[in-house]
């Protein structure tokens, strides 16, 4: 066997407690993605808002994702993700995310093709985006696929569309990214809930594969779907290859069809 492609990219994890100003989120993203990763700063940087970060270019097809991160206030941050063609992925102007004025733990899941920022409030607020893995299909044919979560907050700051299935995708044959509840692939059991466990009680996990109608857009890197019986922050060890396991941590995207999202961590 071999490690699946979507689990074979670079990844990092960082947890920072007591963040009282979202500038710290920007600064830590620079640290994780740029200083300790293979992204680059297009503009801004530590202590600066807005800051624009760009992923490394995927060699096979020239795909990259670029994210503009802005401090709207001490407790509110916004993300604008763009694909290699300059199209706004989260095509609702921006996605916003809050922290608590009194301080919030924030978890960063980052890597060559993805990042996820999980604000651990009483109701967690999670933003994630990235390039999608379409192997074994040729990744650049007809074009690279990208996604962004629709939440945790709209461009007006409303807490909404946090579900695992609420993502922005570029439907085939279109020129603008769209969102909606039909964009998540959830292999479902006959009762039309997710497949939670096997007969033995073992958890069932699946790639975080996204779709637009009958088209699979690909799998998010270093992300899996896990049963919703796992609470936010739970860590689960999953076998990803013969003799190889990986640890995933449940993030604050809300449940879709009994599934939650978990991101890879060391």
């Amino acid at each position: 066997m071999a490690i699946p492609n979507f689990l074979n990219s670079n990844y990092r994890y960082l947890s920072v407690s007591g963040i009282t100003d979202v500038q710290s989120i920007i600064d830590n993203l620079v640290g994780e993605l740029v200083t300790n990763g293979d992204w680059s700063v297009v503009s801004g940087g530590v202590g600066v808002s807005p800051t624009t970060l760009k992923s490394s270019v995927r060699p096979v097809d020239g795909a990259f994702i670029q994210v503009v991160i802005t401090r709207n206030s001490a407790t509110r941050i916004q993300y604008q993700a763009y694909d290699h063609g300059g199209l706004l992925i989260n095509n609702q102007t921006s996605c916003q995310q809050d922290i608590d004025a009194g301080g919030t733990e924030v978890r960063f899941f980052t890597g060559t093709y993805h990042f996820c920022v999980d604000s651990i409030r009483a109701t967690p607020e999670c933003y994630d985006c990235g390039i999608l893995d379409r192997s074994p299909s040729a990744v650049g044919v007809p074009r690279a696929n990208y996604y962004s979560s629709q939440g945790p907050r709209s461009n007006t700051g409303t807490l909404s569309n946090q579900a695992v299935s609420s993502v922005f995708l570029l439907p085939p044959g279109t020129t603008s990214y769209l969102s909606g509840g039909n964009d998540g692939v959830v292999p479902r059991d006959p009762l039309v809930t997710s497949a939670q466990t096997s007969v033995t009680g073992a958890y069932i996990t699946f790639p975080y594969e996204l779709c637009s109608t009958i088209y699979s857009m690909g799998r998010a890197y270093q992300a899996i779907l896990v049963p919703s019986s796992l609470s936010f922050g739970t860590e689960i060890t999953v076998t990803i290859d013969t003799g190889v396991t990986a640890v995933f941590k449940v993030v604050g995207r809300t449940t879709t069809k009994d599934c939650r999202l978990a991101m890879r961590k060391p």
Partner: protein, 265 residues
């Protein structure tokens, strides 16, 4: 990489044309099954070879009439899991497709003057759990019930022993989107076809989530635009391909865009 377990078992495919009696299907099945290590017990009973962890199942084929074939699938405890039939039309010259291996047995008949019908059954691949992790691994399916009524024959339906009683139910995986549950994604944006395992679930009596039981061996599902008998080449490992033949006797599901195919090459 490596060939997935559910695609790494033994298999044999046969085609016979110009059939006018279901006995021809039975005779060919007997030949193929024995060549795959099955044993004949007389009276139409055939038992699969016992695998390394003691798993096996059996089928009994009955010539109800010249035009009616019944397959009884039994699990390792000799519990009848399914009892299903195909009915062939009085217009003869049907075509039969036999798919058999150590873990599966399928007879599909193309009628030409009416829709294809199939009966079959098998053992499920439980990996990555141990193959003897649980005992709910035998399933059966078929176009008609033992009263010759065509019902519950889509590729979402199969029979298994959920608790102590065998039940034919909608227990196969649905690859639908998270919104409507329909529109199974079986195309890449490059328009390549996607193939996915046919997974089955045990449905507990009294409700609750269905429990994942395993994958059918040498069986895949894909977009429901495949013709009866169409052959597709599918990569199953780095540098390795296999051929799968779509059958309509375990019928397609238009709402899910799902249809099954069995290994033929």
């Amino acid at each position: 990489m490596a060939i997935p377990a559910f695609l790494g078992s033994t298999w044999k495919y046969s085609f016979i044309g110009g059939i006018s009696d279901v006995q021809s299907l039975m005779d060919r099945f007997a030949t193929d099954a024995v060549s795959m290590g099955w044993t004949g017990g007389g009276g139409g009973l055939y038992t699969s070879p016992t695998d390394g962890v003691g798993r096996f199942f059996s089928v009994t084929l009955t010539r109800v009439t010249q035009q009616k074939l019944q397959m009884d699938v039994r699990d390792q405890s000799s519990v009848v899991v399914s009892q299903r039939r195909i009915n062939c039309p009085s217009t003869n010259a049907w075509a039969g497709r036999i798919f058999v291996g150590e873990y599966h047995a399928v007879i599909d008949c193309e009628m030409f003057s009416s829709a294809p019908e199939a009966v079959g059954g098998g053992i499920l691949d439980l990996s990555p759990e141990a193959q003897n992790a649980h005992g709910k691994y035998v399933f059966g399916f078929g176009y008609r019930n033992s009263s010759d009524t065509a019902a519950s024959n889509s590729c979402l339906f199969a029979a298994m022993v959920d608790n102590v009683t065998a039940t034919l139910a909608s227990r196969c995986i649905r690859y639908g989107n998270s919104g409507s549950g329909s529109n199974g994604p079986f195309r890449m944006t490059s328009d390549e076809r996607i193939w996915r395992p046919q997974c089955l679930y045990v449905v507990p009596t009294g409700g609750g989530s269905a429990l994942y039981a395993g994958r059918a061996y040498q069986c895949l599902v894909s977009y429901s635009d495949m013709q009866e008998g169409a052959i597709f080449t599918v990569p199953i490992d780095v540098g390795t391909t296999a051929k799968f033949m779509s059958i309509l006797g375990w019928t397609a599901v238009s709402s899910q865009n799902q249809q099954v195919a069995f290994r033929c090459g």
